[in-house]
């Protein structure tokens, strides 16, 4: 009888780690965002306006200056004095005191800004991760405090609009200072604008010269043509910003956070 018990205990010690392997741990600093659907502000010519988003991991907070310092320490080609002008503009990391010196210690916990899309991608590769897509970012950002669809919570869009207008510009705040949303993600609204992988596709709905449904000039009233929600001004502001960017731009209030694929078997067997 003792041998049976001992064997069962031993078996337990063998099986438990196997169970843990089947359900991979969420990477540190990230949360798991479950799959779902979201309605993009501008739909593609070939789409029916609803986009499917697969489950993914997302950083709970934007990348900080301290995080980025670790990156450039390991990768000298991305230091301020070394970076190629093809990949970043002249004010890349201008708010740091030096190549490897933040200067102001409060910068450590503040979101890194003045980084180009190229730099953000390089950081992501260093971590073995990637930038979120527009769809993933918008889907995560659509969540309110208590549910995946924040619009169901009254005043959601207006609250976000308030946060966007704050002055002085909010890049001076620490990451994670506010309340997390339903997914446990902080700072999607009101801290910094964030690079996404396909930022340039934000307003493209087809071959721009042939497109007769959407005025891709998108200024004045025509920006509402083809939009899915005329009242979501916060979304308009984000889409307008993204479509005004170029990959080498470094701006005082554009930062980023990372996403990662969930290993294949785990996303099919949650």
């Amino acid at each position: 009888m003792r041998y049976v018990l001992a064997s069962l205990v031993l078996l337990g010690f063998l099986v438990l780690p196997l169970c843990a392997m089947a359900q991979p741990a969420v990477p540190e600093g990230m949360v798991r965002v479950e799959g779902g659907t979201y309605t993009p502000l501008y739909r593609g010519v070939l789409s029916d306006g609803i986009q499917q988003v697969e489950a993914f991991y997302l950083d709970a907070r934007p990348v900080t200056n301290a995080d980025f310092l670790a990156f450039v320490t390991a990768h000298p080609e991305w230091r301020r004095s070394q970076v190629k002008t093809l990949f970043a503009e002249v004010d890349y990391l201008e708010h740091w005191a030096g190549d490897l010196d933040l200067g102001d210690p409060s910068l450590a916990e503040r979101p890194v800004v003045n980084v180009s899309w190229f730099a953000a991608n390089a950081y992501a590769a260093w971590q073995g991760k990637r930038l979120p897509t527009v769809a993933e970012w918008e889907y995560a950002a659509a969540a309110g405090r208590s549910r995946p669809d924040g619009h169901a919570e009254g005043g959601f869009a207006q609250r976000i609009l308030q946060e966007y207008g704050r002055r002085p510009a909010t890049a001076r705040l620490h990451v994670g200072a506010g309340e997390p949303n339903y997914w446990g993600v902080y700072d999607l609204h009101g801290l910094v604008w964030e690079w996404v992988y396909d930022f340039n596709s934000a307003l493209v709905t087809g071959e721009s010269r042939n497109n007769t449904d959407l005025d891709t000039g998108l200024y004045c009233g025509s920006a509402s043509l083809g939009a899915s929600d005329f009242m979501d001004y916060a979304a308009f502001l984000r889409f307008a910003l993204r479509s005004s960017l170029e990959a080498r731009y470094t701006m005082r209030n554009v930062g980023f956070r990372l996403a990662a694929f969930i290993p294949a078997y785990a996303s099919r067997h949650p």
């Binding site: 207006q158 609009l161 308030q162 704050r166 604008w193 509402s224 502001l237 307008a240 701006m251 005082r252």
Partner: protein
């Protein structure tokens, strides 16, 4: 079963209807279906009084280059002295800042030139304008500019999109004289305009405007705050109110009291005054009136035809303008209002033009008698 009594009226109705149809067809003529919609065939010539502007434009040779003199409201750059066209460089910086809408009421305004309304730009018909639009690096949002004076895509908006920290340069010929609104046309445009991104550009006709003694820049607009009118503290932009077109503030020159107290306009009796009146909207049409004065001349809708004389109240649409001129005959306090009067009384659409000087009793004698009045038949001491 049709009796003779019902058949006859029926036939009469049918005959009348068909006759009317035939008459209508004859009156309106037969239209060829192969013509494009909007095609107009004119029979004969229009009388000279109604002859339209033929759209011909003045494109003189450009001589030299100068930097535009820009002013903040209510001041206006001086009339253009030169009689030739030149390259005019306009440097306009967009700044997002916190400003006071009213006493103790703070609001984040988005501006052309640091203030609401934006800087006044003055050029001459035929000038080549080299426009430098700058977005301050501390700003949060991308912006652009649509000048109604520009003939070209977006009025310049397509060519001028800039994120914070960037400048876009573009060029256009000022071929159309008149007083034009300019505004930011970035999505969502209603919010960019509602936050203060509008101003005026005057393209003087090549022969110039008739000289006057004083010129002022007055721009009406609305603000849609989350709190009620007068509620102190920081106020945000309320999209619901903006879509319902129910502003909390309707003001001249960007805030309550901009044209009162120390900001009041001033002139002397006998002087001619010209007001360049713009309406940034975003939603409301202004019924512009100066209490105590009548406009001698109105250039309706900011065009180049002095199309009306002796006007009490003129209409200024959002995204539009008007030029009004009047000679001051008597001293006093003249009040600029939007005559949709609750806006003047309750929302801030009031400005003052102070005129001090010699009284002119021949024009306005003021009060001559103040005495008791009792309706006829009343007796003192009875009720």
């Amino acid at each position: 079963m049709n009796t003779p009594n019902t058949t006859k009226p029926f036939v009469m109705t049918l005959v009348t209807g068909m006759s009317l149809l035939v008459v209508a067809l004859l009156l309106f003529g037969y239209r060829s279906s192969s013509e494009a919609p909007g095609t107009v065939s004119v029979a004969g010539e229009a009388p000279a009084a109604f002859a339209p502007h033929d759209g011909g434009i003045y494109l003189p040779e450009i001589r030299g280059k100068e930097v535009a003199q820009l002013t903040a409201a209510p001041n206006v750059p001086p009339p253009i002295a030169r009689d030739y066209a030149t390259r005019v460089v306009v440097d306009l910086e967009m700044v997002e800042a916190t400003a006071e809408l009213a006493d103790g009421v703070e609001y984040n305004v988005w501006t052309f030139g640091g203030e609401v309304p934006g800087t006044f730009i003055r050029v001459r018909e035929g000038d080549l304008v080299e426009f430098h639009l700058q977005n301050h690096p501390d700003n949060t949002f991308p912006h652009n500019i649509d000048l109604h004076a520009v003939t070209g895509t977006g009025g310049g908006a397509e060519a001028s999109l800039v994120v914070p920290g960037k400048e876009a340069d573009f060029e256009f010929r000022a071929i159309k004289p008149g007083l034009y609104v300019y505004h930011c046309a970035m999505a969502p445009v209603g919010m960019h305009i509602a936050n203060g991104m509008y101003g005026l550009i005057l393209v003087e006709p090549k022969e110039g405007l008739p000289p006057v003694d004083r010129e002022f820049y007055v721009m009406q607009s609305e603000f849609y705050t989350t709190g009620a009118m007068g509620e102190k503290g920081f106020q945000g932009f309320d999209i619901e109110k903006a879509v319902r077109e129910e502003p909390e503030y309707v003001v001249f020159n960007g805030r309550v009291g901009a044209l009162t107290g120390a900001g009041a306009l001033a002139a002397k009796p006998g002087e001619t005054v010209r007001l360049f009146v713009g309406n940034g909207g975003p939603n409301l049409t202004s019924s512009f009136h100066v209490i105590g004065e009548v406009f001698d001349t109105v250039y309706g809708e900011g065009g180049t035809l002095a199309n009306q004389h002796n006007v009490q109240t003129t209409v200024v649409p959002p995204g539009g303008s008007a030029m009004v001129q009047f000679k001051i005959d008597v001293p006093g306090k003249y009040t600029l209002v939007d005559h949709a009067i609750f806006r003047a009384f309750n929302k801030g659409a009031i400005g003052i033009l102070n005129v001090e000087g010699e009284e002119n009793p021949e024009i306005y004698a003021g009060q001559t008698v103040l005495k008791d009045y009792l309706p006829e038949g009343s007796q003192r001491g009875t009720n």
